[in-house]
Amino acid sequence: MINTFTLDGMSIPFSEGQTIIQAAMAAGVYIPHLCFNPQFKPHGSCKLCTVKVNGRQSSSCTHQALSGMVVESNTTQINDERRMLLQMLFVEGNHFCPSCEKSGNCQLQATAYELHMMSPHFDQFFPDRAVDASHPEYLLDFNRCILCSLCVRASRDVDSKNVFALSGRGIKSRLIVNAKSGLLADTDFCGDDKAANVCPVGVILKKRIGFAVPIGQRSFDEQPISASPHPVMKEV
């Protein structure tokens, strides 16, 4: 017998140990998410993937699928809450998309399009965050970090380098570079690292290729993120 649960009324098959989002993705159903990437263990921090499981809210990237559970995702109430989370992420950082090299390939932006975020709604924080351009090949623009920890997980679990870490708590949380100087140039980070290619937004950027693909012809310009949540980015 195949295990199934229902997601917005659809029957979704799953195998033992799969989370709700994994089973949904395998079935081709999009659940908005930012800190989840199918190649990594879940982090459960952004809460974009929140769904209702048998009436109670839970993160679908950490919640294991169980037979017969009733999951709601694409509802007005949940999407309103997701949009509000996005708006908070936008105002907490400095997201000036027109000058961002990641624009059009950015999961935060594409998710905001998907959820019809027409404005940031809240007051802008305009935080002061310095850029780290010390590395010859890569740039870190912390203004756009959403603290998803994907670079931390990639560097630690795949590259075995521990280049990145999250530091501080609450609104003071920030991404740091594990070097005495705090600078990327003083780590063994390199372009072949998984961590160099995992950031869903425009923080970890390869230098000198930023606009090789023009704005307007990028992955999420062509297809909404719901159609292809993790496209292979068109970058040289």
């Binding site: 997201h95 998309c97 027109p98 961002c100 624009s103 399009y113 027409m118 802008q124 305009f126 310009d221």
Partner: protein
């Protein structure tokens, strides 16, 4: 063609701390402007040169707020327009002008008018007619209530057309995947 039975809607537009790119994009609706003019007439706008906003159905504002005059104009629009639309990145999140928010105003003025290489005897302009700059640049919704937003830098003519025609037809404006852009 018959005149529309309904009276024309009055529309005001202005550019605050913006570059007129959104207005240019608005004009990019090209010959649809003629269709639009069957249903609307312009009040204050760079297109009419009327200096103050009177009672209007729709106000469209490009640019954020960077000086005292911007605040007065924005409040005048809010007081007179039934529906206020913020158009473009600058109106919605401060945009390019807000990139100065990471510097002190004194530093910015000093650099632009005094210290910059090539300036001879530069001084910071102090004519009383000049509006005083604000400490920081702000998006419109931080100052007054905004009813609708058209994101983009600038939004495409099609996005602007879609929002205006939705409103004219009494629909809630909605931009699909092809029309919603922040860049």
């Amino acid at each position: 063609m018959n005149e529309p039975a309904q009276p024309k809607l009055r529309v005001a537009t202005t550019s605050l701390a913006g570059c007129f790119g959104c207005h240019t994009s608005f004009l990019d609706i090209d010959e649809r402007l003629l269709e639009l003019l069957k249903h609307i007439e312009f009040d204050r706008s760079p297109l009419t040169d009327i200096k103050h906003c009177g009672p209007c159905d729709i106000g469209i504002i490009e640019g954020g707020v960077c000086n005292a005059e911007n605040v007065h104009v924005l409040r005048e629009f809010r007081a007179n327009c039934k529906i206020l639309i913020a158009i473009g990145a600058c109106a919605i999140n401060g945009g390019l002008p807000a990139q100065r928010n990471h510097l002190s105003l004194a530093e910015v003025l000093e650099e632009v008018y005094h210290a910059q290489h090539g300036l001879v005897d530069g001084f910071i302009p102090n004519d009383p007619e000049l509006p005083l700059p604000l400490d920081k640049v702000h998006p419109l919704h931080e100052v007054v209530k905004i009813d609708y937003f058209i994101p983009g830098c600038p939004p495409s003519a099609d996005a602007i057309w879609k929002v205006l025609t939705d409103l004219l037809d009494g629909r809630e404006p909605e931009l699909g995947h092809d029309l919603i852009h922040y860049d």
